[in-house]
C-alpha cells in the first residue's frame, strides 16, 4: 500500500483560552500499531475526539486514506471505518451483551419504519447474522462470556466490560481501532490478558490498524510499533518505545523538571 492510512496535518484545538492540541501532525501506516503517550492533559484524548468528530478542530486537516475527514460528524467517521473505545467505559449497562455489541453494527442495517415494524423478515435475518457474529467475536475473547450473551452488561466486572466495548468496536469490521486507556480500572494481569486478546483478533483479520492511548508503559512497550509523545498539546518525540523512553525531553515532561 502506498500513502499513510491516517494523517493529521497541523491540527489545532482550542477550548476558550486553552490550547489542547497545538500544531499536531502525524501519520499512521496501514496495519500499524501506534502508541500515543504523554502526561495527563497533554491532548491524547482530545486528538481522539477530534478524529472521531466529537470536536471540530480549530485549524488543520485530518485525512483518512487520502480523503478529507476534517470536522465531519461522528457518523461519517464511523462510516469511513474508524471506531473507538472510551476512557470511562461507555456501555449501556442496562442492556444485554448482545444489544451492546450489536449497537456497533446496526446503523448499517435496515432503517425504515416499515421494515422495522411491519414487514420484519429482513430484520429477522439480520438479527440472526449479527447475533452470530457478536457471539463468535465474544468467543474469541472468552468462551465463558459467550454463554452469557443475554445478560445485562451492568452485572459484569470491568475486564468483561472492556472486552465487550472492544467487541462493539470490532463487529463492524473497521480499518482503524482507537483504544483510549484500555487498562483503566483493571489490574496489570487483566490488562495484559486483554492485549493478548486484541492481538489475537487482529492476527486473524486483514491488518487492522490501532492507535492506543495508555499510561501503562508495559503495554505500550509490548504492543506498539511506534510511539508519539505529547506534552501540552504538542508532539515532543516520535519513534519506537525504546527511542522515546530514552529521550531527554520526554523524561522531563513526565518528571516535570525543566
Amino acid at each position: 500500500m502506498t500513502g499513510p492510512l491516517l494523517e493529521f496535518r497541523n491540527v489545532v484545538k482550542n477550548f476558550g483560552g486553552v490550547t489542547a492540541l497545538d500544531d499536531f501532525s502525524m501519520t499512521l501506516a496501514q496495519s500499524e500499531i501506534l502508541g500515543l503517550i504523554g502526561p495527563n492533559g497533554s491532548g491524547k484524548t482530545t486528538s481522539f475526539n477530534v478524529l472521531t468528530g466529537i470536536y471540530a478542530p480549530s485549524a488543520g486537516q485530518v485525512l483518512f486514506e487520502g480523503q478529507e475527514l476534517t470536522g465531519v460528524n461522528p457518523r461519517a467517521v464511523y462510516e469511513a471505518g474508524i471506531v473507538r473505545t472510551f476512557q470511562r467505559s461507555r456501555l449501556c449497562l442496562s442492556l444485554s451483551i448482545y444489544d451492546n455489541i450489536m449497537i456497533g453494527d446496526t446503523s448499517r442495517l435496515v432503517r425504515g419504519l416499515w421494515s422495522n415494524l411491519i414487514s420484519r423478515r429482513a430484520l429477522e435475518k439480520q438479527l440472526d447474522v449479527t447475533q452470530r457474529q457478536a457471539r463468535d467475536l465474544v468467543a474469541t475473547f472468552s468462551d465463558h462470556l459467550a454463554d452469557r450473551m443475554e445478560q445485562p452488561v451492568g452485572a459484569l466486572p470491568m475486564i468483561e466490560r472492556r472486552r465487550i466495548e472492544i467487541c462493539r468496536a470490532l463487529i463492524s469490521g473497521p480499518r482503524l481501532l482507537l483504544l483510549d486507556e484500555p487498562s483503566a480500572g483493571m489490574t496489570h494481569d487483566e490488562t495484559h490478558q486483554l492485549m493478548d486478546d486484541i492481538l489475537d483478533v487482529r492476527a486473524r483479520g486483514d491488518g487492522l490498524s490501532i492507535i492506543i492511548v495508555e499510561h501503562e508503559m508495559g503495554v505500550i512497550e509490548r504492543i506498539t510499533d511506534r510511539c508519539i509523545v505529547l506534552s501540552y498539546g504538542r508532539k515532543i518525540a516520535e519513534g519506537t518505545y525504546a527511542e522515546v523512553a530514552a529521550d531527554r525531553e520526554v523524561q522531563n515532561a513526565y518528571l516535570g523538571t525543566d
Binding site: F15, T45, F48, N49, I54, F86, Q87, R88
Partner: protein, 306 residues
C-alpha cells in the same frame, strides 16, 4: 402610540423583569451548587407569599394596623419561613438524591411543587379562591402627561433591584459567597479546603428561596391578589428565564428575567391582533431561543468529558 403609553409599558416591564429575575436567580444558584433543577421553587414562593399573608391576618387580628409595621412583619415572616422551607427541601429531598440521575431530581421537585400547590388549595382556609392581598404601600401616583407613575411600583422596583444588588454582593464579596462559588466550581476541592459543604448548600437554598419569596410578596403587593396557582406560572417563567440566560450564571438569570418581561410587554404592546397572545408570543420566543442557543445566551462550561 404616544409617549405616555410607552412609558407605562416600560415601567410595567421593569417591574415584571425585576420580579422574574428574583425568581430566576434562585434556579441558577441551586443549579450552581448542586447541578440540579428544583422545580418546586415557584410553589415554595407561593407558599412563602401565603405565609406572609397569614402573618398579615395575624397582625390585623392582634390590632397592629400601621402599614409599615405590617409590611415589615409580613416580609420577615415570609422570607424567614420560605428560607427555612427551602433549606428543609434541600436537606431532606435534594441532597439525598445527589447521586440519582439529574432528571429524577427535576421530576421529584415537579411533583413536590404539585403537592405543595394542591396542599395549599385543599388545606388553606378557602384556599381554592384568590385572596385579596393588602395594599401596604402608599398608593399615590405622579401624573406625567397621561402616564401615572405609581409610588408603590417605584418602591417595589427599587427594593427588588436593591435585593439583586445585595445578592450579587453576597455572592461576590463575602466569605459565604466565596464558599458558594467554590462549591459551584468543584465540590471535592471545596471540601478539602475545609468548606462545610452541606451548610453551604443549605445556605444557598435558604437564600434563593428567601429571594423568591420577596418576588412573591412583590407580586401580591402589586396586583393586590394572591392565589395557589401563582407559583406555577412564576416558577415556569423563572425557570425559562434562568434557562435562556444560561444556567449557573447570576447575570444570565437577571438577563433572562428582564428579557422575558420585555417579550411579554412587546407582545402586549405590539401584537396588532390581540394582546391576549402576549404569553404565547413570549414562550414562542423562548422556544426559538433554545433552538438558536441550546445552552442559553451565556452558556455554562461544557461538562461532557469523553
Amino acid at each position: 402610540m404616544d409617549l405616555g403609553l410607552i412609558a407605562q409599558y416600560l415601567a410595567n416591564g421593569i417591574l415584571l423583569g425585576t420580579m422574574y429575575a428574583l425568581v430566576a436567580v434562585g434556579f441558577t444558584l441551586f443549579f450552581g451548587v448542586l447541578d440540579v433543577i428544583k422545580f418546586s421553587h415557584g410553589d415554595v414562593l407561593m407558599l412563602g407569599t401565603f405565609i406572609g399573608f397569614t402573618a398579615w391576618l395575624g397582625l390585623e387580628a392582634v390590632g397592629i394596623l400601621k402599614p409599615w409595621i405590617q409590611l415589615l412583619g409580613v416580609l420577615l415572616c415570609s422570607l424567614a419561613g420560605t428560607a427555612l422551607i427551602g433549606a428543609a427541601i434541600a436537606k431532606w429531598l435534594i441532597l439525598p438524591l445527589k447521586k440519582a440521575p439529574q432528571l429524577n431530581t427535576l421530576l421529584i421537585t415537579l411533583m413536590l411543587g404539585t403537592a405543595i400547590r394542591e396542599a395549599v388549595r385543599l388545606f388553606y382556609p378557602n384556599g381554592s379562591n384568590p385572596k385579596a392581598f393588602p395594599a401596604l404601600l402608599p398608593n399615590s401616583s405622579i401624573e406625567i402627561g397621561n402616564f401615572a407613575l405609581r409610588a408603590d411600583s417605584v418602591i417595589l422596583v427599587v427594593s427588588g433591584l436593591a435585593l439583586i444588588g445585595l445578592l450579587n454582593l453576597v455572592i461576590n464579596r463575602t466569605r459565604l459567597g466565596l464558599a458558594i462559588r467554590a462549591v459551584a466550581q468543584d465540590e471535592e476541592t471545596a471540601r478539602t479546603m475545609g468548606i462545610n459543604y452541606t451548610l453551604v448548600v443549605l445556605a444557598t437554598f435558604a437564600i434563593g428561596s428567601g429571594v423568591a419569596a420577596f418576588a412573591g410578596i412583590m407580586n401580591g403587593l402589586y396586583y393586590n391578589e394572591i392565589n395557589f396557582g401563582m407559583g406555577l406560572i412564576l416558577g415556569l417563567i423563572g425557570f425559562s428565564a434562568a434557562i435562556i440566560g444560561g444556567l449557573g450564571n447570576l447575570y444570565g438569570a437577571i438577563l433572562g428575567g428582564f428579557l422575558f418581561a420585555g417579550l411579554q410587554v412587546i407582545g402586549a404592546a405590539l401584537l396588532p391582533f390581540a394582546s391576549a397572545y402576549k404569553d404565547v408570543f413570549a414562550f414562542s420566543v423562548v422556544i426559538a431561543l433554545m433552538a438558536w442557543k441550546p445552552t442559553g445566551l451565556i452558556p455554562e462550561r461544557s461538562s461532557d468529558r469523553v
